[in-house]
């Protein structure tokens, strides 16, 4: 664009307004809106209160489900927990994939989590422990990695073998064996959890100001405590959880478009299912994300897609919105 034509264009846009003027007081409108919203917020808060569920804590978990807490600590040492076997970004593994595209693996291990050290050994080492736990820590630290894995793996298998038909563990029925320091370490972690010391030990790792709750969430997700609470509050993914709020409050209805896919039976296969439903369920997150991206692209290019772009002609809702215009001009478009 030449200098002259740019000047002409700027002069065109700088012309004074010659159309009709209407008095408008934006401060008055803003003040009225602020007043109405303030009254509504105060009145509705007074009437309905707000969701104020206390945060879940490791102390609460250890008190409510000590056997589960204990067995999870064992599984963290053995490397069999959900976190330890999750794959990227926490540890090595394949993770979810979209057909041949191993997207999770491609992301790499960017937030490494060593479940045994991060969840058990480091918290136990952060405070003065009873003699048996201190001795167990020394034994564990002095052992080779293979020996550690053998002790913890054997004990983890023995603990899981006590599960009854309901999945409840019976720790008093664990078979005797050579489990090294693992039982004492799990016992020490449970004692920390029960006393409340575990909450501080895990949140206190790293920096002075702690805003990264990843490890706390991962560990709590390995047990049944948070899972049971989510089920109780209808917050599970397969019960429209992302749309729901704690209690009887309305939730996030705008997430229905995403949540609906998680309700379909194809993405909710039973634990013993095999075949295509197993694959779809195991990779549900990435497959559903791909479906949503595909739909988003489709909507974005609606004007170029025959059939889809003709919908307003078949369902003329816009004529209802601009009914005055169409009353005056009929069906003409210009």
């Amino acid at each position: 664009m030449s200098r002259e034509s740019r000047k002409a264009r700027n002069a065109f846009y700088a012309r004074p307004w010659t159309g009709p003027n209407r008095h408008y007081d934006i401060l008055k409108e803003g003040a009225i809106a602020l007043g109405v919203v303030t009254i509504l917020v105060v009145a509705l808060s007074a009437l309905f209160s707000s969701p104020d569920d206390p945060a879940l804590t490791f102390k609460g978990w250890a008190a409510d489900a000590p056997d589960n807490f204990y067995s999870v600590m064992v599984s963290e040492l053995a490397g069999t927990s959900g976190t330890a076997t999750y794959g990227p970004p926490y540890n090595e593994g394949d993770g979810v994939s979209l057909g041949p595209l191993t997207l999770q693996k491609w992301g790499g291990v960017t937030h490494p989590v060593d479940s045994a050290n991060d969840f058990v050994i480091t918290p136990l080492s952060s405070q003065v422990e009873p003699n048996d736990v201190s001795a167990a820590l020394k034994t564990w630290n002095a052992a080779s990695a293979d020996q550690q894995l053998k002790w913890a793996g054997d004990y983890d298998a023995a603990v899981q073998a006590t599960a009854d038909d309901n999945g409840d563990l019976h720790l008093d029925a664990v078979a005797t064996g050579d489990y090294g320091p693992v039982p004492d370490l799990a016992k020490g972690a449970l004692a920390m959890g029960t006393s409340g010391a575990y909450d501080n030990a895990l949140t206190g790792q790293g920096q002075f100001f702690q805003t990264d709750q990843t490890k706390q969430l991962l560990l709590m997700g390995d047990g049944s405590y948070m899972d049971d609470r989510a089920t109780e509050l209808n917050l599970q993914g397969n019960t429209w959880g992302m749309m729901n709020e704690a209690g009887s409050w309305p939730g996030q209805q705008w997430l229905a478009f995403t949540s609906v896919w998680y309700q379909l039976p194809w993405f909710n296969a039973a634990d013993d299912a095999t075949g295509i439903t197993r694959t779809l369920t195991d990779n549900a997150d990435v497959i559903i994300a791909a479906i949503l991206v595909l739909l988003l692209v489709t909507f974005t290019f609606t004007p170029f897609i025959p059939g889809l772009r003709d919908l307003p002609r078949w369902i003329p809702l816009h004529r209802l919105v601009w009914k005055d215009y169409y009353k005056k001009h009929g069906r003409q478009t210009s």
């Binding site: 007074a46 009437l47 209160s49 209808n234 429209w240 209690g247 009887s248 309305p250 939730g251």
Partner: protein, 56 residues
């Protein structure tokens, strides 16, 4: 303030139009909000806009 508050702490009930085993269900609080939004949308379509007619 707590004297006035209505307790909404208990988990919501669900509307299950296709039976208890169907995958489709919606909580009543969400259903109420969706119905309110639809009613507002319809009202916005049919009610005359205050302040005069479209001048186009």
């Amino acid at each position: 303030m707590e004297l006035f508050a209505i307790s909404l702490s208990d988990p919501a009930s669900y509307w299950r139009p296709f039976g208890p085993d169907s995958w489709f269900f919606v909580s009543y609080p969400n259903l109420i909000m969706i119905v309110i939004m639809l009613v507002l949308f319809v009202l916005a379509l049919v009610l005359p806009f205050p302040g005069g007619k479209d001048e186009s």
